[in-house]
Symmetry: C3
Subunit: 177 residues, 3 copies
């Protein structure tokens, strides 16, 4: 089941999910709006690779906004720290961002139960689009679970700011076994 | 929980969700297929912006179909009016559209409980792809909710045809408070 | 409700879902990681069409990996055979793949209840990205259903390897009625 907006507020009060800072005006019928933080990360390499580290550079969004170009992937993050040890958060675009052709994730919408941090957005713009720090481009929904819970204890735990891919560490982990 | 196809038909009979027109042949095991209406909308500006209005032009899909180009975002809409005051609709592509590299939304798949209208698709084609009015490119699923319901009462209520982004109105609303 | 990782393992033991081969090390807090098989399919035509067959060519991923180019759609498949007659599988990217700008589906994330086979991925790379057979790029989640179940009996049943779009067969089916 998906939590309704009033239920998101209630479960937050009960300490069963984290949304911090919290503004009641951002509660939607089935979701909560997320705010874009000031920093973006871009890869510097020409060709990315799942099996090596991919170096990144950071950009601070200026006052007049920043134009996301179509041929690049940009990582951003939510101002809000979010997560739950009981429910599963799922990220999606707000309709108004998507209608401008702006993807806020790249099919990785699921947050593991027990993962608490600022959420990393994966931005991809179909046409150039200017975004601004403080824009509410994304939203989070919360879903009930069935079964025993094992909390997330992975490589992105406690994220602050946009976090580049760590998928190349899978190989190191596999080799170490 | 996600409604099965037979449950979608049953809940529609019971007046708990709207799918109109309704064709029993379009009920799938967990979803209902949606039909592409005749009109597409495209932005006319070079660089889009989350904080200003982005002008649009309308195109009618001709008899021979219309080729969606990769570097543009196109808004379309379902022929069907859909929504629910009890369940949450979520839109996705039919497999056959996605296997042609055609996105039917841009990470905005969630419809708020209480929002009733023709659904706006956000089309993005990875390679050029010819689509036709009447194509069944998308499907809708329905999900049960937990908690008190506050019905949607927002800027896209009662949509007919493709609706451009209204995200710039967030600013005006914030300034007015 | 979404199944937790331990519940995915338990339901598999109980024969209520299929994940084969199964490696307990790939169970995540709410999902199970999927492995990329050795074959990719690409369309050979310039402009794709929803109403005709779109010819494909197959590529075997070489030892050094294969660079996915941004302007093409690639179909891949999971090594794992998966599905369920009781639950609804939904596919998504692992976070590490998405953070490299690699879509693993094109808004077709839902698998019908009763559909059993290797899952076809729809890859789209925002920037060029090198992938390798055996990479764990995607994951599957499982969701409980409400209502009577009609099992899938469609055109992609029992898939092995990447399966091109069959959406043009909708027309033939409609014409035959």
């Amino acid at each position: 089941m998906i939590l309704t907006g009033p239920e998101i507020a209630r479960e937050r009060e009960a300490g069963r999910l984290i949304l911090d800072p919290f503004d009641p005006g951002q509660v939607q019928p089935n979701s909560y709006n997320l705010t874009l933080g000031p920093t973006l990360a871009c890869y510097t390499g020409e060709v990315l690779d799942t099996r090596r580290e991919n170096p990144c550079t950071l950009v601070t969004i200026p006052e007049e906004g920043f134009v996301l170009e179509p041929d690049r992937i940009y990582l951003g993050s939510s101002v809000e720290v979010l997560g739950s040890n009981h429910l599963v958060p799922v990220i999606r675009a707000r309709s108004g961002a998507a209608r401008l052709g702006l993807f806020v994730h790249v099919t990785a919408d699921l947050i593991d139960v027990g993962s608490i941090g600022q959420s990393t957005f994966q931005f991809h713009a179909v046409q150039p689009v200017r975004v601004h720090a403080g824009d509410r481009l994304a939203q989070v929904t919360f879903w009930t679970t069935q079964g025993d819970i094992t909390l997330y204890d992975g490589k992105y735990q406690g994220s602050r700011g946009p976090q580049p891919s760590q998928i190349h560490r899978d190989i190191t982990a596999a080799a170490a076994r």
